[in-house]
Symmetry: C2
């Protein structure tokens, strides 16, 4: 078995709103062609420019509810009356092809996935400080004070669950944070239970 | 608490004779000033150039046997009538100072350490192939056929236990292997249970 045949990693990736997940993911995916973002299923209507299977898999309420009944979603949630979920088969297909699949997902969904999947890597992205996070949330300048306070409180609740993840990565500097995540991926690939093919390749004589 | 105050990693490092452990360690230590080799205790006599506390801590049989009785050695073994062991206090002192300490150690001692220590990282170094390992053992040209066969059999017995380590690293190319070990160290430092100080630094308000 060649190294290219090794299975990909399922990476559960969370962090509070405003901590820079989007930028980090963009740079990470640009840097690693062995890694991709999972595409979610949604019932919300496509917007101009949306392509089915790229931003989302666009499905009807009936279709998504059938997927839920058939346990075809690793996790799902409802926002504003629409379903959003992670399709198990699409993820599995990429993992089997050796690609690392990142689920960028809020904490509740992440915990659900971790409880249902045997093998994953979980990473929580942290802002350099809560003051900096507040600055970033205000920096958008588009929100009321009440909305900023609500988002900050939500961020604190998410950060309070960071210790349920395997790895903590601080986003003090974008390039450094991207490098740290890449380092975690490279190391996890060398874990014994994921790299036994190296032993098989060795072809040594088992001692009797 | 600053990142520099974080505790070092205890790294248990093994691999069969002839797989290149010595060269890899030399390069790794040259590349990382946060990482050092553990110094063993021994009862063998110092050779010309040996400095106490550098190559080994040189002690008498009585002193080492007292350390054993006082559980002051993480592991020990006897070869040719001499004791060789890993002094717990010296290792602990370096870990507490934030330095990563590598125990380059054969499999039996490694398994003993893993069973006695709560927090460690274990890495097994593999040759590119058993044929290459045989070539390297023969390459020394100083040994009889019988001795080569004995060493090969011993290597196979060690490799058969590689799956008791957390990470497998193939030494197909020295620089790449050194980089892989360094990657493992960097990633393990980001494990949540070892980087909680980042959460403490954040100073966020716990949700009630």
């Amino acid at each position: 078995m060649a190294i290219d045949d090794a299975r990909g990693l399922l990476i559960v990736f969370s962090g509070p709103s405003g901590c820079g997940k989007g930028t980090i993911m963009e740079r990470l995916l640009a840097a690693r062609d062995d890694t991709m973002l999972s595409v979610s299923v949604t019932t919300r209507a496509p917007r101009p420019g949306d392509v089915d299977g790229v931003q989302y898999f666009f499905r009807t309420h009936e279709q998504v509810e059938q997927m839920i009944r058939e346990d075809a979603l690793l996790e799902y949630a409802q926002y504003n009356g629409n379903y959003y979920g992670t399709p198990r088969a699409a993820v599995e297909e990429q993992l089997a092809a050796g690609r690392n699949v990142i689920l960028e997902i809020e904490v509740q969904g992440a915990l659900k996935v971790m409880s249902r999947v045997a093998d994953y890597v979980s990473i929580f992205l942290l802002p350099p400080s809560m003051e900096e996070l507040e600055r970033r949330l205000r920096g958008r300048g588009t929100e009321t004070e009440e909305s900023v306070q609500n988002r900050l409180a939500a961020a604190c609740e998410e950060v309070a669950q960071a210790d349920k993840y395997q790895y903590l990565v601080r986003n003090d500097e974008v390039d450094a944070a991207v490098q740290r995540i890449s380092t975690i991926i490279d190391a996890e690939k060398m874990r014994c239970d994921r790299s036994k093919y190296i032993l098989e390749d060795l072809n040594y004589a088992e001692p009797h």
